[in-house]
């Protein structure tokens, strides 16, 4: 690797971080906007999430008297864990910068770490809401994570690897034949995982503070100011991570396989389009479903797990997969 390549590589890596960090609030804004539109409301402007973040960052954090260092440190660790996952995923070019060091299972682990820190912080202050929220969130995590792993295996089975960039490169090389029923079914399962992991309807309602139903909001009720900004931003980043993974695997075409300028720009633009499309679809989906009772979520995750397993069956036993 020449020094020039190294510099370009580092720049591209930074570019990935920049894209994820800067784009994620916009995606939240899009979802809100789509939901508002389909509910015949005007809705807040697309850039509202950025303004909220700016407002929160400008404010000081307040801590409960009973809070320990955990409360102060958790948002940072949680956010950092999410950022660490970025270079393991394919965004607008291949191979992923840290692809050699870890596969999608690492991503699952990092997401779990982030979830764990948030739950820990929620318990730290000792408020009732925090305890409630963290139990609920861990329950959802316990349901979603095994299914996430199954989906990774289902996706990886045809390519023979659980590494995101290998799967994507395999998809690009196969062309249209890549879109087998097995892949589509696994992706449907992943869509359910995505909803659960990012706290969208019908798993969690991000727009409610109703004590009976809120999950994520209950956990972060104690936070304010800069810390809250970090948590909100982290939530957006997590959504971007999973949505990015979803679109990259489902529609891998357009991701740059070389470091040419045209290919990179094209990959970037297409990534934007894919992510905005996913956000639009999620917004549409959310207006059509109601929040489910917590214990019915097990039904949802069972369905997702069954679909993922079905996809593996199709790939291995029938060869219907590519």
């Amino acid at each position: 690797m020449t020094p020039l390549e190294l510099v370009v590589g580092v720049l591209l890596l930074l570019g990935e971080f920049a894209v994820v960090l800067l784009l994620s609030p916009l995606l939240m804004g899009v979802i809100r906007r789509v939901k508002a539109h389909s509910q015949r409301r005007v809705g807040s402007p697309l850039l509202q999430p950025y303004r909220e973040l700016r407002k929160l960052i400008a404010k000081d954090s307040l801590y409960a008297e009973s809070a320990s260092f955990v409360t102060r440190g958790a948002p940072w660790i949680s956010f950092a864990a999410l950022l660490c996952a970025v270079p393991f995923l394919p965004w607008f070019f291949l191979p992923s910068p840290l692809g050699f060091a870890g596969d999608l299972i690492v991503v699952v682990g990092l997401l779990a770490l982030s979830r764990f820190m948030t739950a820990l912080a929620a318990l730290d202050a000792g408020s009732t809401f925090g305890g409630m929220g963290s139990t609920r969130d861990m329950w959802i995590g316990a349901l979603a994570e095994p299914t996430f792993l199954l989906v990774i295996f289902a996706w990886g089975a045809p390519a023979g690897s659980t590494q995101a960039s290998v799967i994507v490169a395999y998809g690009i090389s196969l062309g249209a034949a890549y879109l087998s029923p097995a892949l589509l079914i696994a992706s449907a399962a992943f869509f359910l995982v995505l909803l659960a992991e990012t706290g969208r309807l019908p798993v969690d309602n991000p727009a409610t503070h109703l004590e009976l139903t809120m999950v994520h909001e209950a956990m972060v009720l104690e936070y304010s100011g800069r810390d809250l900004a970090l948590i909100e931003w982290g939530k957006a980043v997590k959504f971007t991570l999973l949505a990015g993974l979803f679109v990259s695997v489902l529609v891998p075409w357009g991701i740059a396989q070389s470091w040419g300028v045209v290919a990179l720009v094209l990959g970037l633009v297409l990534l934007l389009v894919k992510l905005l499309g996913t956000s639009w679809a999620i917004g549409q989906f959310e207006t059509r479903v109601a929040k489910w009772r917590l214990f019915r979520l097990a039904d949802l995750s069972t369905l997702a797990a069954a679909l993922a397993l079905g996809s593996i069956v199709l790939t291995y036993l029938v060869g219907v997969g590519p």
Binding site: S180, L314, V318
Partner: protein, 212 residues
């Protein structure tokens, strides 16, 4: 690729209708599934130059996508059937049953020697899965209405198999099969009405007096 997409839609629709509790949504899923099957028929007719199959696709669109869902919605409305279904088997078990159906169908179809002459035969395991899921629905749902939906789902699976294997059986046979399906829908509607008049419910639970 579009073929695979349609096949995935067919399978997903069957699987989702297995876990969905609302009858209205199940009718919608049935219509979606039928549309995907019609799509497969059109695609196969183009890809393998079998123009008659387009007629089949048209038949499916007319009957399974438009007429039968309309009829089912009317039944739902006229009989004031409660919108949520009663399950003998929980949603969770149903979702897993879908997986079981897939495994069974793979076990059944797997040993067949692949036929090079029929490229679309790869759709066969999915068709069998849809048939089995329909069978499971028919067997485990308490509402007579759901049993009809299960049977319609089974028919859809067989249609898919027919399209994948035969590229169309000939117009006369297809018209006959379609006519049978239509009459089946009408006859079921008649019986559901009678059931409602007689028992004031369409739960198949009341049908328990004949034993032994």
């Amino acid at each position: 690729m579009a073929l695979e997409l349609c096949a995935a839609v067919v399978l997903l629709a069957a699987w989702l209708s297995l876990v969905h509790r609302r009858l209205e949504a199940q009718i919608y899923l049935y219509a979606t599934q039928s549309a995907a099957i019609a799509g497969i028929a059109f695609l196969v007719s183009i890809l393998y130059a079998t123009p008659l199959l387009a007629v089949t696709g048209g038949l499916i669109v007319g009957l399974n996508v438009v007429v039968i869902p309309w009829l089912l919605r009317r039944i739902l409305r006229d009989l004031r059937i409660p919108p949520e279904i009663n399950m003998l088997v929980s949603v969770r078990m149903s979702a897993l049953a879908g997986l079981g159906c897939l495994l069974l169908s793979v076990a059944v179809i797997g040993p067949l020697t692949p036929l090079a002459e029929i490229p679309a035969a790869g759709l066969l395991p999915i068709a069998v899965t849809v048939v089995l899921i329909g069978l499971f629905t028919t067997a485990t749902r308490r509402k007579a209405f759901s049993q009809v939906l299960g049977i319609l789902g089974m028919e859809n699976g067989v249609f898919l198999a027919g399209i994948a294997l035969t590229y169309g059986l000939g117009l006369l046979l297809e018209l006959g099969i379609a006519a049978n399906l239509f009459v089946l829908a009408i006859v079921s509607r008649l019986f559901l009405h009678r059931m409602k008049d007689t028992f004031d419910t369409v739960d198949a639970d009341v049908l328990r007096s004949l034993e032994g």
